[in-house]
């Protein structure tokens, strides 16, 4: 087994990738899905509220505002440039804090506060910024709110927004299309066009061909999985653990793809096989989207053992330590698939020689 030859095969796939419609489809599908989901359910394209502050003293309001999540604070030097930026919708709103602002409000005075609102800002953004600013000033002044606000969660406390629950779809497509479909289609194409025969009469072995195409699937699966999660800002606090599951999942999918690519007769059979198996391999995704369904069912699908951990770690703050069992099963599946792949690869090689 020569890693140099296997890498040459993988390198050819990567070089030719941009010329292949399937390759481009695999790259752009997760991006398109991310944009579609975020456009429909919010997320990726939701703008942060942008507040500009001109602080003529050293107000605690500025510091407190900068620590807030979900609001982008920009501190400016003078009121004129603040006005200009709000006017051009470079900022949603802006405030000018006069010198000794904090002292004056603590002394019970009511100093003037210029609050500029961009005419193009969303109504919701205006309300958020106005209420937040008022709250911050009250805090600095040491005043109690005029009312006692009682917060009561209503509905399922474990509810995960639909946008987040759709995340596995993006990851599923990224990993399955790239890691499973690309190697399968590439191997089948080489069988159909008999370029594989030309490769196999060089010192290259079928095992090296399979490894080369597997490298393509695994690297593309991991890269697109990572890219999709980054695009959806869903890496959580344990990105390396997520990458580990993406790696194991991509190896598993690449092996399944190469088995398919070795077995199927033609492109139609490949599409039919993937469509037919689609529901089965997509089971974990379906059960994540509808969490009320019995959650033991997707454990029968191999994809469960990497998709569910990726989802739980990225969205629900899980950790690798919570998913050792899933990780072990995923690794065992990879090990079990290896001899199957070698056997069907050898069969494909013989059939190819018979057919040529």
């Amino acid at each position: 087994m020569s890693t140099r030859r296997a890498w040459s095969i993988a390198a050819r796939e990567f070089r030719l990738g941009p010329r292949s419609p399937i390759f481009l489809y695999a790259v752009f599908l997760p991006i398109a899905m991310s944009f579609l989901i975020s456009a429909v359910f919010g997320g990726l394209l939701d703008p942060e509220a942008r507040l500009g502050i001109v602080d003529l003293g050293q107000s605690e309001v500025t510091l407190a505002a900068q620590e807030l999540e979900g609001i982008a604070v920009d501190v400016l030097d003078d009121a004129e440039s603040l006005r200009d930026r709000v006017e051009t919708h470079n900022l949603d709103a802006g405030i000018v804090l006069a010198a000794e602002f904090d002292d004056r409000i603590r002394a019970g005075e009511q100093p003037d506060l210029d609050f500029y609102i961009s005419g193009e800002s969303l109504a919701s953004t205006r309300i958020i910024l106005a209420v937040t600013t008022t709250d911050l000033i009250r805090e600095v002044a040491g005043e109690e709110p005029p009312v006692a606000v009682s917060v009561t969660p209503i509905g399922d406390e474990d509810f995960v927004p639909i946008g987040d629950r759709l995340l596995p779809i993006v990851v599923f497509y990224a990993v399955v299309i790239a890691a499973l479909f690309l190697p399968a289609a590439s191997l089948l194409d080489e069988r159909e066009k008999q370029t594989l025969s030309a490769v196999l009469v060089t010192p290259t072995t079928m095992r090296e061909v399979l490894v080369g195409k597997g490298i393509l699937g695994v690297l593309m699966g991991v890269a697109l999985g990572v890219f999709s999660l980054a695009l959806n800002q869903a890496f959580g606090n344990r990105p390396l653990e997520i990458v580990l599951f993406l790696l194991v999942g991509s190896i598993m999918m690449a092996q399944l793809g190469l088995i398919l690519g070795s077995l199927v007769k033609d492109a139609n059979s490949l599409y039919t096989a993937i469509k037919g198996a689609g529901v089965f391999i997509a089971l974990p995704v379906i059960f994540i989207i509808w969490p009320t369904l019995p959650q033991w069912v997707p454990r029968f699908a191999p994809t469960y053992y990497f998709l569910t951990p990726v989802y739980e770690i990225s969205v629900n703050g899980g950790a690798l330590a919570d998913f050792w069992l899933e990780f072990g099963v995923a690794c065992l599946l990879c090990l079990a698939l290896a001899p199957v792949l070698l056997a069907v690869g050898h069969r494909a090689e013989t059939r190819l020689a018979w057919a040529g």
């Binding site: 030859r5 030309a198 010192p203 072995t205 018979w354």
Partner: protein
Amino acid sequence: MADSPPAIEVTEISYSYGDVLAVDGVSFEVAPGEIFGLLGPNGAGKSTTVKMLTGQIGPDSGSIRVLGMDTVSDTSKYQGRIGVCFEEKNLYTAMSGHENLRFFGRLFGIKDLDTAALLDRVDLGPRGDDRVADYSKGMRQRLMMARALINRPDVLFLDEPTDGLDPVSARTIQGLITQEAERGVAVVLTTHDMHEADTLSDRVAFINQGKILALDAPEALKLQHGQRSVRIRSLGNAGEIEETTIPLEGSGVPDSLQDTIANLEVLTIHTEEATLEDVFVAYAGRGLGA
């Protein structure tokens, strides 16, 4: 040539596709620098024989040694020293000529392959950067030939290398085959084209129903099966065309020829040689196209 150890030694090989026996106890040797023609109709077993010789399949029985190496146990090792030109134009059409050659060069472990020189050898130099999808059939075949020569092979397997090509492309490829043989390369040529086999091959083997029917130099086969005679067409007394056949066997042939030529108004004189096709029919009872 005769003193060198054979480049290819095939001993009693057989191969079956399920219940169908495709190759049945075939044996032959090919010397370095020899062009060996493997002739036979479709389904005769010649492609299966070549697949076994190139390591694509292993024989069910018998043995094949190429360059002293066993094709089953040393497959990758000896495949590094052979070149194969398939009948099917199995090139990467999305890649250019240069890219195709560079890729296969890497598979042979050649880092700095002079692809331009190879493409020049097959008259494809100016089109080397074009995608193979834009090549004509003749250009693709010439690129296939260049690909077979990437590793300066010691043994070349050529399957119908000039099939359906224009005369210019066919001559280019035939020229390359001759050059390689002169370099000492053993060439196994599989073809339907009897004229090409006759012109290029040092020896030919007729294969039919998985067995070798005859194996010898083309000239020897033709002499064995041709009618050694001369056919003379002449103008008769009444202006009609007459044909006279003079056997070239036995004594007195020169006198007989001289007398005939002296007494007739000769229009044409032809030797009556058998073609390889005639020889094949004599052995197999059917033509190559059957």
